[in-house]
Amino acid sequence: MLGCAVLALVIAHDAGAQILPEQPISVAGGHIVLGAEVSATFAPEDPGFFNYTSYEFSALRNLRLSVSTEIRATDHLQVLGEVRLDQGRVLEAYGLFLRVRPWPARRFDIQAGRVPPTFGAMSRTAYGSTNLLIGQPLAYQYLTSIRPDALPGTPDDLLRMRGRGWLSRFPVGNTVDAPGLPLVNTSRWDTGVQLHGLAGMIEWTGAVTAGSLSDPRFRDNNSGRQVAGRAVVRPSAAVAFGLSAARGAWLNETLEREVSGANSGSAQQIAFGVDAEYSAGPFLVRGEAIRSSWRLPEFGTLQLEDPLTSISSLLEGRYKISPGLYLAARGERLDFSTIRGERGLLEWDARTWRFEGGVGYSITRNVIVKGSFQRNGRDGGRVRRETLFAGQVVYWF
């Protein structure tokens, strides 16, 4: 159906007439503005589950419709929301928040509700028209084995789940198979209050929210709040440097009390990120490194002195080779800290890497066709190497 719509658009474009909107729809004198994005992503089966998200579908096999709305009540007050339909059936209010600008002339905003991510450079560019490629960055999508509602009873329980984050299982807590947590979850947004300001070349954002970086939530599952912050420095238009940090309770409160009797919120996820972007002429290069650690409660034979740590590193770039046509590539990996099991020291989850290269072509300004090649590797799990080809059509207005 989407293909037909795109074809119709192309034919109409050739005929010099546009049948689908090409700009946001504005009503009530500009007080209400609607935008939308439709993306259809095609790829073969992913038997290694390298591209699975916390919603249990592959990011490379999805039909997504997202509609965003901005209600501009006054200069001081706006309401913003985004509804997404994934797989053509999973509907969710992705974001819904109030934005208050106390002083209209100053770049300072307060946002409250289900707010956009504070942490990281790639949160806003992970999917659709803003993504240079088709796959999402590993740190924002790849599922590690740990879960907020289940815990390993021993280090070996955890080691047995290496490379199986798409559907992990532990003996303590919820014993049903379920997806693990990514380092940063962009499939859902967190709920809370966010402050944002711009002062000269420095842009900053701070937030207090209900969930954690790995597990953003509408309703909190523990009494520990997450505090997150990000600062971006732009010494020139070409360069940006970013620093991000977040700390929040990530474990289900009931489970934590049950196993350790500890105060809720003592199991913290702490993450730091550094990123940089350079662009000039046809070039765009981005890099980001994230270190995330999750502290587990100590109980029984699970006595981990150090938190579980994962480090993500990413480098991506784009080169425009002609009007409407670009090449892009991304290389990235996830590394994990070691724990001692019966077979000695092992990384608690399987080291994972991905290279993706692709091409994007704009049929019209707001219809982009992408194709990419993805090579995945992992030092654990049933499938350790996987090559995927994917295609995507994105239409937006």
């Binding site: 946001p24 504005s26 992705y94 905003d109 504070t118 711009l198 954002t205 238009a237 409407g324 300004r365």
Partner: protein, 236 residues
């Protein structure tokens, strides 16, 4: 109208300098003296009455942004273009197509509509402190100038007649039009819709009123041996 011609003269004189661009800068290739002489010869003049002014393109709702975007200027959409559908033989005499400037200022292309002759070079200076990336996927001219910062300018030679839709790859609400003609008989109207097509030999012509991407109205006009034919075109 005198001020408008002065603006043309200024635009042709500064050629590529970073002086503020005049709001309207058609480049017909004629010298001021030629234009004054042409005006004495008569032609077609009148008004393009645009009854419903289009709304400027809104910013896309950026729900993923941690805060609201900064202020921007909205384009002036009160101008259209009037041109001859087909031109007299003398129109194809060799002439300098000239330069024109389409500035990028406060997240807006200035002017919003530019009309030039084939062969003209259109410069796109960036007068903002942020990056812009001018591009067009139009059949008449496909180009992508890449990202460049404040104080920089890049030019594009318009080598085919047609409508060139211009966008910014970074700011989706920025758009403009460059109309490229293979003859000099066109005019971007002033904000009240007034236009002049001077230096036309007497005879019958079809004129076209163009507004925001479409030829909206056509009219047959007879130009007398001397003096002006007055025309009122209405765009509903």
């Amino acid at each position: 109208m005198v001020l408008k011609w002065l603006a043309i003269v200024a635009g042709l004189t500064v050629m590529g300098a970073r002086a503020p661009a005049a709001e309207v800068m058609p480049t017909g290739g004629a010298s001021p003296a030629e234009r004054n002489e042409a005006r004495q010869n008569g032609g077609i003049r009148g008004r393009l009455d645009i009854r419903k002014i289009d709304k400027p393109v809104e910013r896309r709702p950026d729900v993923a942004a941690p805060g609201a975007a900064g202020p921007r200027d909205v384009p002036d959409l009160r101008r259209g273009v009037v041109y001859l559908e087909s031109a007299p033989r003398s129109a194809f005499d060799e002439r300098d197509p000239g330069h024109a400037v389409m500035d990028q200022r406060n997240e807006r292309f200035v002017p919003h509509v530019l009309a030039v002759m084939v062969g003209a070079i259109v410069d796109f200076p960036n007068s903002d402190l942020i990056y812009h990336n001018v591009f067009s996927l139009s059949r008449a001219k496909r180009f992508d100038l890449g990202r460049y910062a404040a104080g920089k300018s890049k030019g594009v030679r318009m080598d085919r007649p047609g409508v060139v839709r211009v966008f910014c790859d970074i700011h989706s609400h920025m758009s403009a039009f460059v109309l490229v003609f293979n003859h000099p008989f066109f005019d971007v109207t002033d904000v009240d819709g007034h236009f002049e097509l001077p230096s036309l030999p007497s005879g019958s012509y079809t004129i076209v009123g163009w507004y925001e991407g479409e030829a909206r109205v056509t009219r047959s006009v007879v130009v007398p041996p001397s003096g002006w034919a007055e025309v009122e075109l209405v765009v509903q």
